[in-house]
Symmetry: C2
Subunit: 645 residues, 2 copies
């Protein structure tokens, strides 16, 4: 193999090569990508497909004077290699020194931190507009894949592009697949364009007022260089449609063209049970199995995924078996939520699953079409909570996003079993819009040993009580009866101390919502610790830490974050002076502040624990927990200090 | 004139007419609409344009078995007239008994409450999907205008429609204009379709995989009936493109085709200074004038409107003068925010103006492309706060939406003069993402007499102090020096009591943000009342009410809602036992809860005043103020009660 890459510290070095040398460079880069992703994992497929196009872009255009904006930017590894950051991908000791997305803090060649789809064209429109207003002459290039093209905002950007009347080049990377398969009527038109070598009159881009050219082999550096040179410095908006092979060079992926090609783990485990238990796939899988068991009896029950099935436990086998009960809408969160509202209003039972960070796209539709219209639909929110992930995929804002929507019931289960009961209710008797925050790793860890499982029994009790109140108890497995029986004793203890009266128990179901009331899972005095969802195990740990200091804390599982259980909060006043809230997410706008506000006009001290208002970028979770004082020791110390004060 | 409408109490009555009678019915309805809108105001233009199409829809389809979904639903007056609600538009004593949008609580013929653009196709997809899953055979019809078509979510819906493989009819009402003009490259393609009588091969709809037919005269009932009969019960997704005349029958509008045609006020005052001062137009106009004065010197300064210029004080004259410094992106909030981020990153200075309720569409882009990327851009948020408006245009959620975004500076001016200084800072030295909540009616009322103006001087002071701290003071008019001089004395009084030290004043600018510190505008003890933005005048009133009870309250203008001014809050502990927050918006997730949380671990009592978590529908403002205890008397009573407790 040649030794070209080692001498490229920036685009100028690349430009010194002859065009005929570029394929050899591409081979080197491809080999480096395969080594890198085998060791580190990453978005392997899209980067392999874009090797030649990225080389050609930097060969022809003059970055950073010319601006190249990669949509989502997960395919920017090659761009990083060519712009001074190759060692982050070639030198094992420096693996991870570049992020997986573009980042202006890393390089002048990067314009934005991006991680959500479809915004590159609008960003490029803006950069072109500013250039034209200020008399600049540089090129602005957006690189967008066919998966991203179905995103709402991408269409808005394309519609604007033609209006700007200035240089704007949109490289449309068509590898014939999104994260999973492509979905949508426009893909037939794109196939026709590919089939006719770009000559079909049915051309979505031209219909949007854009100029257009086609490159049949988007992995041919010469053809790409020629095409880019043709459009360089053009005075209008032009689409260069390049047909590439996602995962080119990755044998298995190239054969199978499966979605595992999208993200490569260091130890590949495509679509099988993950080696290490993973909360998203575990609880997603549990939910999907519970729903699938009902498909025959409930024709209108339907699961919707906006192109993220794999990470939500919706396996290919499951999808195949679900048939028409499953719909992948493509990367279209706004549509997906609205679509769900339509299904619900017409008598169906929609369940829409995706990550917290992606639900942000549908904020308005969640408020308007979903909650305001009070449709009986269920949103399954995955990956909510603080995490060590990159800054574009933060899940720390989901409680603030969902919990403040008028009319939306927001549930936070503290076990898989409770999640299933909540799902059964949401898709059954609820007849209202419901969001369920799928449990995270902290809950999963508790399920498999540790101190938490004994409280599963306690929470199971509430369903039985609700059954007396006209809400059907939905036993999900044979153990439910046993668990409920075990719960009786605990409940007797919890409620014998007077915090919750018999009348309160009878009223556990509020407006038909069996989750409106908090559950006192452990009875104590002086201090009460409320742990929401993923934070519940930590509330338990903090209580245990306080035991050591001679303080027996009350522990509460609130089950939900959409309403305040005033009766339970009022009952605490008698024997408690400090209330602690613990949540796995941003405090500002979140949940605990509402408890503080509730007690504001009283002597009760309220301590809110949660994340700061900040977006973190690959900060390890244990560092974040220390930063936010989300440890049992920190909480116990704060409580003891408050009790003394 | 005929007397047909008086006998139509539902679609069955309509179906008894002969097709040849329909034009006469259209004439009656048109006359009724003109009378109704002259008296009550409303979305006159779109309804006048849709008279014939709505008649034809109900003549051919069988609502409510067949579902007709009107996009935005502001054009549903005729639909309401034909489905049992005609008296709400024909009988003066019942004017207003039907809402201005579709509403399932009103009629089985309405499927959804809608008020934001572009969702009808996705909703129809959902209803079609549920029908197909459950073995139904009804038609599902979405009616969408050309203005709405540029909305992101509409494209996502169109892309899905072809995939569903079942009956779905999309009536595309093309009246060649949005709220203002149409913007975007796709409109040239639509013009070509009109010009070629629908035969052009450049057909956006066909490219999305949809069947298509064209009706050249969308105000010809016979042609429409024929077209709808052709597509009724079709087994796939079909677009019926109808070319209508917006405002047909409204002489002036038909001639001028101006945007005033979109919304008709009872006393028409198109685009001129409104008869009654209006906060949106007043403050919007002030902001626009201040920006326009800088255009010559700042080529990159640009104002963006996602199709709502008129209601934000961006007059036609202003737009004409602004030239390339103004861009209407069409109804595209996601794109508009992302576009602004691109402009900012390329060195321009974008100012994006629209209503709080519409910014919801761009929630994700505000988080990601705008705030996370820390671009120097300004969002002007209009109509934030509780109002008597309909439930789809609530502004009560803007503080919770913007105030919790990490990295976004959120300002809430309490006077026009302060708004201008904030705007000057945001578009000047700030170099960061900023949202400014444009003042509402309560602030405007105070500017024109009443007790508030004297505090304008006090707040002006902070700028002068900041000037010493390296932040340039931007005097917006000749009165600034005078105001600042007057402020010195007040400041002396406010700060002489020890709440804020001299060191604090020197530190008024935090991280270059001159609005990070609260201003104590009135010094007192026992209780401190913080009034955010529009709620500031009420804080003053409550303080005055407490004066009568012998309690001299401290009053504070926080200026912003993105950070807590811990130093000022700490300083209050010495002489105060009760802190009151007052905000014009939803409490949950909003601002006051953060103050309660801050004081949680202390004896300070905190009383939060604001709106409940609910969406209200045309409830008069005075009723809401009573419901939320947002009156000076309620606040004073609560304070006195807390002081006693």
């Amino acid at each position: 193999m040649s030794d070209l890459l080692a001498h490229i510290d920036g685009p100028d070095d690349l430009k010194r090569l002859y065009v005929v040398q570029l394929p050899a460079l591409a081979d080197e880069i491809r080999a480096a990508l395969l080594r890198y992703c085998a060791a580190k994992g990453g978005h392997i497929g899209s980067n392999l497909g874009m090797v030649e196009a990225t080389i050609a872009l930097h060969y022809v255009f003059d970055s950073p004077r010319d601006r190249i904006i990669f949509d989502v930017s997960h395919q920017s590894y090659v761009h990083k290699m060519l712009t001074g950051r190759r060692r982050a991908f070639t030198d094992e000791t420096r693996f991870g020194s570049a992020t997986g997305f573009t980042n202006p803090d890393e390089s002048d060649h990067d314009s934005f931190v991006l991680g959500h789809t479809g915004t590159s064209v609008s960003l490029a429109c803006g950069m072109a507009k500013a250039r034209d207003l200020t008399g600049g002459t540089n090129n602005v290039v957006a690189v967008i894949g066919d998966g991203s093209l179905s995103s709402a905002v991408a269409f808005e950007g394309l519609n604007e592009a033609a209006e700007l009347n200035g240089n704007l080049i949109i490289v449309f990377n068509d590898n014939e697949m999104s994260i999973a398969e492509n979905h949508g009527g426009m893909y037939a038109g794109l196939a026709e364009l590919r089939k006719t070598n770009g000559t079909s009159p049915h051309n979505l881009f031209r219909d949007m007022g854009l100029d257009y050219r086609y490159v049949a082999d988007g992995n041919d550096t010469s053809a790409l260089v020629e095409a880019f040179e043709d459009v360089k410095d053009c005075d209008h908006a032009t689409v260069v449609h390049i047909h590439t092979v996602k995962g080119l060079g990755l044998d298995a992926a190239e054969e199978g063209r499966v979605e595992s090609n999208h993200w490569h783990n260091p130890m590949p485990a495509p679509d099988a049970a993950p080696a290490k238990p993973n909360a998203r796939k575990t609880y997603g899988g549990m939910a999907m199995d519970a729903l699938a068991a009902r498909f025959d009896a409930e024709p209108g029950l339907v699961v919707i995924s906006p192109a993220t099935p794999g990470s939500n436990g919706i396996t290919r086998q499951w999808r195949a078996a679900a048939g028409r009960h499953y719909i992948d809408t493509g990367i279209t969160e706004e549509h997906a939520v609205t679509f769900a509202a339509g299904i619900a209003r017409a008598g169906g039972t929609p369940v829409l699953a995706t990550s917290a960070t992606f639900f942000q796209r549908a904020y308005d539709e969640i408020h308007q079409e979903f909650a305001l219209n009070n449709v009986p639909g269920t949103l399954l929110v995955f990956s909510g909570g603080i995490s060590g992930a990159d800054n574009t995929h933060s899940g720390a804002g989901d409680v603030m996003m969902f919990g403040n929507v008028p009319g939306l019931t927001c549930l936070a289960p503290t076990s898989g079993e409770e999640m299933l009961r909540m799902l059964a209710w949401a898709t059954g008797d609820a007849r209202r819009p419901v969001a369920i925050r799928m449990p995270g790793e902290a809950v999963l860890a508790g399920e498999r040993g540790g101190s938490y499982p004994r409280f599963v029994a306690a929470t199971a009790e509430s369903t039985d009580v609700q059954a007396d109140d006209g809400v059907a108890a939905k036993a999900d497995n044979g153990k439910a009866g046993e668990a409920a029986a075990a719960a009786v004793e605990m409940t007797g203890r919890s409620r014998g101390v007077g915090e919750v009266s018999v009348d309160d128990i009878a009223a556990t179901s509020v407006d038909g919502d069996p989750w409106a009331r908090y559950t006192i899972t452990r009875s104590g005095s002086q201090v009460a610790i409320l742990g929401l969802g993923n934070a519940y195990p930590l509330a338990e740990e903090a209580a245990a830490a306080l035991d050591d200091a001679g303080v027996r804390a009350t522990v509460i599982d609130p089950h939900q974050y959409s309403t305040i259980d005033a009766a339970t909060l009022d009952s605490l006043r008698e024997r408690h002076t400090v209330v602690v809230t613990v949540e796995d997410g941003q405090l500002e706008g979140g949940w605990g502040g509402k408890i503080a506000s509730y007690y504001g006009d009283s002597p009760m001290r309220v301590l809110n624990f949660g994340a700061r208002k900040e977006v973190t970028d690959r900060i390890p979770l244990d560092v974040l927990r220390k930063r936010y004082r989300l440890t049992a020791g920190d909480i116990a110390d704060a409580v003891l200090s408050a009790l003394r004060g």
